[in-house]
């Protein structure tokens, strides 16, 4: 079903919206959650939680594209679950690796409970990614949004793993410089 039609169903509070979302994007949401949690059961629960969150968010939201919105929900729900430690024993290496790498591009320290809001920080990151060549931005998101492994990225973009690592390192450094220049603290 087309995105517009699915969103209309949400706005009409028609529960077929959930069915249609599952049919069209169920596997996508599941896959994002599974990468984080490495557990089929928990990924399925996250997928179901995603539908509930979507139901509670639309309306007022009218997301475009719907896939990215649902993916964002799945990712957030799965990360929350991972952080609560429910999955750490079984897997979640991708998240740990991602966190280790991201720690390299943290700008100045802010006082506890201070610093920029995540939403505002996201706007800066979006602007930064738009300022970079498309492939660079895409690869950054494959690594830190989709949590792809280096090997998966190398295969996807038909390049060597060392080149992917180098490219990501430079992007992280550029992001840190970008945020520092704008006096962003986290």
């Amino acid at each position: 079903m087309e995105d517009e039609r699915i969103i209309d169903l949400y706005w009409q509070r028609d529960e077929r919206a959930i069915t249609a979302t599952k049919e069209t994007y169920g596997r996508y949401c599941y896959a994002i959650a599974y990468r984080i949690l490495a557990s089929h059961e928990e990924a399925e629960e996250c997928e179901n939680d995603t539908y509930l969150d979507a139901w509670n968010s639309i309306p007022p939201a009218r997301p475009q594209p719907l896939s990215a919105f649902l993916g964002m929900l799945s990712r957030r729900i799965a990360l929350d679950r991972w952080r609560k430690g429910q999955a750490k024993k079984r897997g979640g290496d991708r998240v740990l690796l991602s966190l280790d790498e991201l720690a390299e591009c943290l700008p100045g320290e802010a006082a506890p409970d201070a610093g920029i809001e995540a939403k505002e920080l996201a706007a800066h990151i979006s602007a930064f990614l738009r300022s970079r060549p498309r492939a660079e931005g895409d690869i950054f998101l494959r690594r830190y949004w989709f949590l792809d492994s280096i090997k998966e990225i190398a295969t996807r973009y038909n390049m060597g793993e060392s080149r992917v690592k180098m490219l990501l390192k430079r992007t992280r450094e550029r992001l840190m410089t970008y945020l520092t220049e704008r006096e962003v603290t986290i």
Partner: protein, 474 residues
Amino acid sequence: MKADKLQDAIGMVDGDLIARADMPPDRRRLPRWWRSAVAAMLAVVLLLGSLWNIPPLQGSYAIAEASYPVMAPYPAKDSTHEEYDAWRSSIDERQQYAGAGKDLDSFFSATMSTFLADEEQENRVYSPLNVYMALAMLAEVTEGESRAEILALLGSESIEALRTQANAVWNANYRNDGAVTSLLGSSVWLNKDLVYEADTLNRLADTYYASSFQGEMGSAGYNKALSAWLNEQTGGLLAEHANSVELSQETVMALATTVYYRAKWTVGFQNTRTAKRTFYTPGGELLCDFMNQTLHDGDYYWGEHFTATRKRLADGGYQGYMYLILPDEGVDPAALLTDSEALRFMTASGEWENHSGGKLNLSLPKFDVAANTDLLAGLRSLGVEACLDPATSDFSPLLADDSMPVWLDKAEHAARVIIDEDGIEAAAYTVMHEAGGAPPTPGEEIDFILDRPFIFVITGPDGLPLFVGTVYTP
């Protein structure tokens, strides 16, 4: 932890950036990218014969060339936002036609059984969508019982309903953005000595995007022009067949339709994992190249007599897949093509009750299968008979002089499907024989080894079966 906050913020970046990163990467600049691709093409040529003796004349051929919708090019790696948006818009524009062929399942199932299920145990390829378009055009040029039989086979209530559907099917399956080519080509080959109904020819051009040509039937030049058109539409990959197609002096009109489809896998096979492995053909063992890949979120389906998986194709939408259907041990693919459950699966676009997901090790032989098929006997068995017989055929919408006996004289089609990729390196997998009807244990890693005759289905941008085939010998 500060990195958590950064991770959360990354999770909230603009949705269009996420969608863009989730698109298949552009590999156009990489050498030989298309070899890691699926290339398939098919041509159907319907020749209408006549008993009248028509004198040959000289002349040129092209009357009108079909004008296809223009799509924005697939964005390059360093493309701007505007370029990306333009491409996305042109893809979205196709979406208005989505679902146009949802009522065609019974036609697809019936014809797949008829044209593929034989006992020869040879590679076969058939394009349900292409034959649908050829028959729709045939319905346009017929009337009475001839048309009624075709409409019944296509499941259309009226010629008007068929026009609407066929036009939408054409558009829903059209892609031509530099990265994906999915094109249903049509053409009409007219006899220079006859006067045709202009309204009918205009309808063929407007509704079916059919180019029209007129020339001397049976002449070397006109045959060559038809061959050239077929080759052009199919990227030259059906040259052997296309170059042998001939129009006879008695041919009143030829309808030629083609499907040309080329797309990359969303995630290609790694060259280094390709390895030699034994394929068990009906005639014995054959050592061939198997491409290997681990699908971390692979789909696994099963039915009473088969198991299946699918691999996604980068078609700019969400429906392009190659489905790989492995009959249970001892079940012949041809037999499976007459099994109602298996046929239902082949037209289900992955919507299947017995479905599981998880880590799946796929081992797929490279193959290049081609087949020529005479459709006439099959059409007759499917109930399309009146237009085949000069005594009962009615082609009155075609010619200004409708007293002339015209009938469907030949219906030939040729198809070829190639899947390929580069490189060889040894890899080993365990062969696991899944029993039909049994789901995998949750969390179980599945080995899906296509080392005996199997069936494939390629679905196009709208999820309809563009190609179905059997591989007995890769």
